[in-house]
Amino acid sequence: MANFDKELDARGLNCPLPILRTKKALNDLTGGQTLRVVATDPGAIKDFQAFAKQTGNELVESGEANGEFTFVLRKKA
């Protein structure tokens, strides 16, 4: 089922921690690998779009269910 290479649990964390942890987690991946992030901060939706746009890491998936937001980022090659 795992269609991602690494997972980050950012639930309960508030701005800017989800983004900072994401950046750190991406450092452990190689280009093309994917990271799945789960967050509960409502500000994360816009922040992850902005993070992807500015860093070149592609936001391949973005979803919301039961007050949790999930994002899948593909690390820039």
């Binding site: 309960g12 964390l13 701005c15 800017p16 921690l17 900072l20 509960t40 993070f51 500015q54």
Partner: protein
Amino acid sequence: MTTKKLAIIATKGTLDWGYPPFILASTAAALGYDVQIFFTFYGLQLLRKSLNHLKVTSLGNPGMPMPMPMPVLLQALPGMQSMMTVMMKQKMKSKGVASLEDLRNLCAEADVKMIGCQMTVDLFGFSPSDFIPGIEMGGAATFFEFAGESDICLFM
């Protein structure tokens, strides 16, 4: 693509005002910015080894949300400031807001350059051992060397 630069001047030494410089600096670093923060006057408190002494105050700050309405004179009573600080810290923790120490560590890990204002250090009689390691001391000209090339420059 050239690296963008963010320069921040941090001048406040309270728990609440410590957040903006460290939040923006750490986030900008995560976005790939080169970041420098120049800590001057009360902002130097943010470079002390321990940040436990930082407080919030409602005095002169009518925008601070209070759990109940309270006359300003009562807010000035001994112990009130410490009580508000404890309450603020509890609230932040319960909402998943990082501690200032954590954010500062994240900045240091992300190579955010932190510069202490030498003049203020002398003025208040601080010693280099009062501050966290890894910071530099400098003056206004030192700050402008980086700030003059920056894309964003913020005074806080």
